[in-house]
Subunit: 124 residues, 2 copies
DNA sequence: TTATTATTTGCGCAAGTAGTTAAATAGTCA
DNA sequence: TGACTATTTAACTACTTGCGCAAATAATAA
């Protein structure tokens, strides 16, 4: 991504933007198992169909999912498996970050890092 | 990322959000070469130092860069190399998407797909 | 001390966005 | 045809965010 023109950066940013929303990640998470229609996803996520429909439109526009109309329902499924690789990378980064935070807390608490739960009186 | 609790999804979304901004991607791009201070980045990006400083604060909070105060300047450098892996993945996805779009256009235009200059920003 | 430079922060504006309800659209079935 | 269901779109509200300007803070130099 070195000598990318400005327009490319905008594209990449837009792609990340599509993933930068908890509800959309939740949708992608449910689609990991199998394709689902709008109403189903709405119920699973706990939002209105209208809202989920718009999220799905956005994900479709960015090529993350594909839509297939069947009967009077619209079924969506994952189009770009790279999504999960991305999420795994991010989870790894966040994990390392939390580890560092735990170390930091341990320095003050004088307690071992492992127990985790008991280690956080002051943080977050 | 399968059975993630809702809170985790929010964390992941926030991480993606940090990358979902062209200016911040530009900053990360410049930091790829070497560490730089705020004013330098501001000049390179064409924004005020105030603006860049805020972006750097956000990137720091998400563990993407680290700050080191030296003299009366603040030098920033990449803290999480995963950033570039993420960007490469996204570039790949966008590239494939553009390829598909080119195929689609070719079906109408009757033109070969290969030549296209815009076929793929791809990756390093 | 004061002056100078670099960075950060408070504030306001403009633009973008997630969510709702209600209306419009599309497909199925009698 | 009309009734019914599923999805999409429109209109709206509340909230977030990128930006610049100006003031505040921090470090160096005179």
């Amino acid at each position: 991504m070195n000598g990318l023109p400005n327009e490319a950066l905008t594209q990449v940013a837009a792609y990340f933007q599509a993933l930068a929303e908890p509800t959309r990640l939740q949708i992608l998470n449910y689609l990991r198992e199998k394709e689902r229609n709008v109403g189903e996803l709405a119920q699973l996520c706990g939002y209105t169909s209208a809202n989920i429909s718009r999220h799905l439109t956005l994900l479709t526009q960015h090529g993350l999912v594909t839509r297939e109309s069947r009967g009077n329902s619209a079924f969506y499924k994952i189009a770009d498996p790279a999504v999960y690789a991305l999420c795994d990378l991010v989870c790894g980064s966040i994990g390392r970050q939390l580890d560092r935070a735990a170390e930091g807390r341990a320095m003050f608490a004088g307690a071992p890092v492992a127990p985790a739960v008991a280690t956080a009186p002051a943080a977050d």
